[in-house]
């Protein structure tokens, strides 16, 4: 099997808050492969977004990455570099040309004071060292690529003049400006209405195939995963509790949490007028994560004397990992 472009190993990111240290990301591991889409799924607050920012090294104070590895394989092949070891300058060279990010709130993620053209070209000129003219052409080209009508005119417009869908397209164009190898889309569709959502997702899929992107799609929506992802990482309270190919996860989910998530998506097979099951209880606050398996308070199949006491280790083979005593790792 090919080497991953990007592999996250036991990533830890902490925030220092009044009530003490919060482990937002607490040992996440997963791999991202060229031309494949990794879906990172979990309820809001499970640390998805922080993971994304950790990868780009733009976690804001009071947060900081405290451990693990973020291994990026150079385009030229050869030894993978650990991004966490890079200096700020080198890291800036990664953002954009290597790894790019698409945000969930297209409105707030643009500055209202510059034209979209300006904001797209900025990255281009910085990384690709293009002339203003060339950068502009490139920007128009990008807008065209992401399906913005009349790109030549739009390029001089301001974000607030665009519709939500267009904005997200522009956001994507901006992310692709320096054709990155890895694109992280953080809830790219949450802020959009259903039809636009579909369009954006299609766009992403299409682009990924065209450019052989490695896509990390962060979402809380199993449905989106189902139609977009090749691989899945299910996160719970700062950890990947189950990872594997989408086919396996959906057909044979192992972790009780994964199952619970799956149960909560409507399916055509479901009988009409049956209530969608929901997961009992709410995610505990990271600052007071329960002892043992973090999921135990909500788990329907927990093993009392064990899950409340011990943390399940990560078991399973490459490409299919899981943290649950039901599936091995029992003492």
């Amino acid at each position: 099997m090919v080497d991953p472009i990007l592999s996250i190993r036991d990533l830890h990111t902490e925030f220092v808050a009044n009530e003490g240290i919060i482990r937002a990301v607490d040992g996440v591991s997963f791999d991202v492969f060229q031309g494949r889409t990794l879906g990172v799924v979990g309820e809001s607050g499970c640390g998805k977004s922080v993971t994304a920012r950790s990868i780009l090294g733009i976690v804001e104070k009071p947060g900081r990455v405290t451990g693990g590895q973020i291994l990026l394989r150079p385009e030229t092949g050869g030894e993978a570099v650990d991004l966490l070891q890079l200096g700020p300058k080198a890291m800036r060279a990664i953002r954009g040309p290597e790894i790019a990010l698409v945000f969930q709130e297209p409105m707030a993620s643009f500055s209202q004071y510059y034209t979209i053209g300006n904001q797209i070209m900025e990255g281009i000129r910085l990384h690709l060292k293009l002339s203003a003219r060339a950068a502009r052409d490139r920007a128009i080209e990008l807008l065209d690529m992401v399906g913005v009508p009349q790109p030549a005119r739009r390029v001089d417009e301001y974000p607030f003049q665009l519709s939500g869908g267009l904005r997200q397209r522009v956001m994507i164009a901006m992310a692709l400006a320096c054709d990155p190898r890895v694109l992280i889309a953080d809830e790219p569709t949450t802020a959009l209405d259903v039809t636009t959502q579909a369009q954006i997702l299609d766009l992403l899929r299409e682009l990924q195939q065209k450019q052989g992107l490695a896509l990390i799609l962060i979402t809380h929506d199993m449905g989106v995963i189902a139609e977009m992802a090749h691989d899945v990482a299910v996160m719970y309270l700062g950890r990947a509790v189950e990872t594997g190919p989408v086919s396996e996860i959906f057909t044979a989910p192992k972790h009780p949490y994964t199952r619970a998530l799956l149960r909560s998506i409507p399916t055509v097979m479901a009988k009409p007028r049956t209530r969608l099951p929901t997961i009992e209880g709410s995610i505990p606050h990271p600052s007071n994560r329960p002892a043992g398996c973090a999921y135990n308070p909500r788990c329907l199949e927990l093993i009392d004397d064990l899950c409340r006491v011990q943390e399940p280790p990560e078991t399973g083979m490459a490409g299919r990992r899981i943290r649950c005593f039901l599936h091995g790792g029992r003492p």
Partner: protein, 374 residues
């Protein structure tokens, strides 16, 4: 993203916050603001001084005597030569140097004038009761004796005592002034925001006009209009009114801004739907919810008031002697000879700076507390 980590801790105390009023919330956040807390205490102390000015004064702040003209600050000795704790000041001999024309004061080591605690001094009235007790006083002083810890001015008046009285005058001016402009500000700002439309436009225009006029000329104009033969108290109050008449606009803007923001809030809608009278909505529902902002705004407005009074008096258009205010004390310090021969006259600047600092920090703390991201 890390907004979520910000919001979580509140979740954990959700119940408390649920019941807490805006004011309590502010108070909780405010307590974290250490500088502001200290400032608050300082302000409180200042008003305590204002209350007991005469009691703290050691000598009649009006009494002049050429024999004590321009005395530099004098130390109070705490221990007698025999080492016993009996605070005293030395008697002073002043001689004018015939060449430099400066008066040279030399302490007379023989003459120890006892300093008594809670002892009788010049008579004054406190809350209508005439008293003679002062915090400190000299035991049977001779002419020219005094506790001059801050020195004396040209007319030989004790700076410390004058400072005490001045504090009372200046601080109360600030307070009265701010309450007037507060009333105007809340009323007009509230009305302006609540009714909007024509009313709003008109009031906003008025505010713009007032704000777009340099204030000093206005003050000067109004102050210059005061009849020359008015008594000190009349002038005192008119000055206060004048200052506040121009200071309300900022408050009005704050109120209006917060008001508009709140209009949209559900509970106001609810109240409106429930058919509550607009007056009731304003004062029962909305006012309390931004009381904290008002408090902040006020504590930021006060120093402006105080500086205004000082400036006016400095220009000779505010209070006039024999009234004593910080402005007037500073006016005394403004001559070259004061700066060169009696720099201690500038000590009047210290309380001004201190109290204004305190008010600003206090106000800042309150504002931050009122809305952390405001």
């Amino acid at each position: 993203m890390f907004g979520m980590f910000k919001s979580r801790p509140q979740l954990s105390q959700a119940e408390r916050f649920a019941q807490a009023t805006q004011l309590q919330l502010t108070w909780w956040r405010f307590r974290k603001h250490r500088v502001a807390m200290v400032s608050g205490v300082i302000v409180a102390l200042f008003y305590l001084v204002a209350l007991s000015a005469d009691f703290l004064a050691t000598t009649d702040p009006h009494a002049t005597d050429s024999r004590t003209s321009y005395i530099a600050p004098q130390p109070v000795h705490f221990f007698e030569d025999d080492g016993s704790f009996r605070p005293y000041v030395n008697g002073l001999k002043g001689v004018r140097d015939p060449k430099t024309f400066k008066i040279v004061y030399t302490p007379d080591p023989q003459r120890h004038v006892q300093v008594d605690f809670l002892a009788p001094g010049y008579p004054y009235t406190f809350l209508g009761i005439s008293m003679t007790t002062h915090l400190f006083a000299l035991r049977n002083p001779e002419r020219g004796d005094g506790i001059f810890i801050l020195g004396t001015d040209q007319l030989g008046r004790d700076i410390w005592s004058r400072l005490m009285v001045a504090t009372r005058v200046s601080l109360t001016i600030g307070l009265v002034g701010v309450s007037i402009s507060l009333f105007l500000g809340v009323l007009l700002g509230g009305v302006s925001a609540f009714y909007g439309g024509m009313v709003d436009t008109v009031i906003q225009r008025v505010i713009e006009v007032i704000r777009s006029m340099p204030t000093i000329p206005l003050w000067l104009g109004l102050a210059a209009a005061l009849p020359n033969d008015w008594s000190v108290t009349q002038v005192y109050f008119s000055i206060t009114v004048i200052i506040s008449l121009l200071a309300w606009t900022d408050l009005a803007r704050v109120v209006r801004g917060k008001f508009l923001a709140l209009r949209e809030e559900e509970f106001v809608m609810a109240a409106e739907l429930a058919g509550a009278s607009s007056g009731r909505i304003i004062f029962r529902h909305m006012l309390p919810s931004f009381l904290s902002h008002i408090i902040a705004a006020v504590s930021l407005a006060l120093p402006a008031m105080i500086i205004s009074e000082t400036s006016l008096s400095f220009l000779g258009l505010g209070l006039r002697p024999p009234a004593i205010s910080w402005g007037i004390l500073l006016q005394d310090a403004q001559s070259i000879q004061s700066l060169a021969l009696a720099p201690w006259l500038l000590s009047a600047a210290v309380p001004v700076i201190l109290v204004i600092l305190a008010f600003n920090f206090l106000g800042d703390g309150l504002r931050d507390a009122a809305d952390p991201y405001g």
